[in-house]
């Protein structure tokens, strides 16, 4: 019986990195927005969208 621990570890690593990245970018966007810094806010939200789209592209392609 072989359990693919490396694959499970990949799931954990990917989930951790991607989630923290998206969440952090999103909160930074909200911080920028609440102190009226439009530019950084847009950049943060765009970063979020980019990470999500990249993730989906990995699955589809």
């Amino acid at each position: 019986m072989t359990i693919k621990w490396d694959a499970l570890l990949q799931v954990f690593g990917a989930t951790l990195l991607v989630t923290l990245l998206v969440v952090t970018l999103f909160v930074l966007g909200i911080r920028a927005l609440s102190s009226d810094k439009k530019g950084p806010a847009v950049a943060s939200f765009a970063g979020c969208v980019a990470v999500v789209l990249y993730g989906l592209s990995l699955i589809i392609l």
């Binding site: 019986m1 072989t2 359990i3 693919k4 694959a7 499970l8 990949q10 799931v11 954990f12 990917a14 989930t15 951790l16 991607v18 989630t19 923290l20 998206v22 969440v23 952090t24 999103f26 909160v27 930074l28 966007g29 909200i30 911080r31 927005l33 609440s34 102190s35 999500v52 993730g55 989906l56 990995l58 699955i59 589809i60």
Partner: protein, 377 residues
């Protein structure tokens, strides 16, 4: 009975299972958004239904896990698969009736394994594959989602401290809708696949498809539509438990929970792990509850849910075993299983009508909760 007819019965039963899977799991994606008022219940289920359909087309890895490995396709017949499906549907309906967010996936595996074991012998099950692709991910995935959700919640609450509350409240509601949408999409990539896998397996065992085939296009689209329809009709009973019962949820927290849930499911789907989206979503909600406030988690409800999870595989397995044994005995068996299964399903539906839980109830509860917060503040 004509083998082609049995295959048709299996396909129809599999789509019925897929439909129950959809309305059983509406809650996973949408419970937190409905609970915080970010989305109206009807909008939430419509959005979730469309995204489930889209998700069904994104990947076939999980379908391949099911059609090509858990059971030996040379040893089982479509009648055995039919028995397994009946076991899974029965368990899904019972847990839906009591409002327990149990795993549709485990009900399916339990039913299939039980039916194959009794009707075709223990050799027909590939236990190594079951452990590697189903059991281990079943334990690991909710933990992963929980741990990550807890960390994400801590990060969110740290960083949002100095923000304007009105901006952040609106912002997180939008973030929550976006992340709930991703969970629905992820759900389509994992759960719709399971029905595709089962139908493909039935086609392989009847000789219509070569072993190792990927699901044909009509299978993908019909499975996607069945789960979308089930999702749209909605499982308000379970949304009730998941949205309120585990821990109180704020938009920022729902956002953190769902982002980790969606990522964990998508990453697993990609590697062909057939995990329970229900368990992952519950793990995410629990984790974010712990990350925000350790005292805010309802361990009683959590304990009841975990007990239900442990029962799912064996309970569906026993029903699947009986139904599979009987169905594989011949035409009378198949008809008998179909009639009894149908009668039980109608019985549960009639019971559920006596005290229905509708979307309006959940909205009322959210409003009542908001009132309490106002009084406290």
């Amino acid at each position: 009975m004509d083998p082609a007819l049995v295959v048709i019965i299996v396909v129809v039963t599999a789509l019925i299972f897929d439909f129950t899977n959809g309305f059983h799991d509406t809650a996973n994606a949408m419970a937190t958004s409905i609970a915080t008022g970010a989305l109206k219940p009807r909008t939430a289920v419509a959005l979730s239904a469309v995204l489930n359909l889209v998700g069904a087309f994104l990947s076939v890895e999980v379908a391949k896990t099911i059609s090509g490995g858990i059971v030996d396709d040379a040893q089982i017949t479509p009648a055995v698969i039919f028995g397994g499906l009946v076991g899974a549907i029965m368990w899904n309906l019972v847990t839906w009736y009591v409002g327990l967010p149990s795993s549709s996936s485990h009900a399916l595996f339990g039913g299939l394994i039980g039916a194959a074991w009794v009707a075709s012998g223990v050799d027909s099950i590939h236990f190594a594959k079951v452990v590697d692709k189903v059991l281990v991910p079943a334990v690991v995935a909710p933990l992963v989602a929980g741990v990550v959700a807890a960390l994400a919640t801590i990060v969110v609450y740290r960083l949002k401290k100095s923000t304007d509350p009105r901006v952040s409240h609106t912002g997180f509601k939008i973030g929550q809708v976006a992340s709930a949408s991703l969970v629905s999409l992820a759900h389509g990539t994992n759960d719709a696949q399971k029905t595709m896998g089962i139908i493909t397996l039935a086609l392989i065992t009847s000789g219509s498809l070569a072993p190792g085939s990927a699901p044909p296009f009509w299978v993908i689209i019909s499975a996607g539509l069945a789960i979308a329809l089930g999702t749209y009709l909605g499982g308000w009973r379970i949304t009730h438990t998941l949205g309120r019962g585990l821990t109180t949820i704020e938009p920022a927290q729902g956002f953190a929970a769902q982002t980790s849930t969606a990522t964990a499911i998508l990453a697993s789907s990609h590697l062909g792990f057939a995990l329970s989206t229900t368990h992952v979503a519950s793990g995410g909600i629990m984790g974010s509850g712990l990350g925000r406030d350790r005292r805010g988690v309802n361990w009683g409800t959590m304990g009841k849910m975990a007990a239900g999870w442990l029962f799912t595989l064996p309970a569906a397995g026993i029903v699947g075993a009986i139904a599979g044994k009987w169905a594989s005995s011949g035409t009378t068996g198949v008809i008998g299983v179909a009639v009894i299964g149908g009668a039980v399903a109608i019985g549960i539906w009639i019971l559920s009508r006596r005290e229905p839980i509708k979307p309006e109830h959940i909205v009322d509860e959210v409003a009542a909760q908001a009132e309490l917060h106002k009084v406290a503040a």
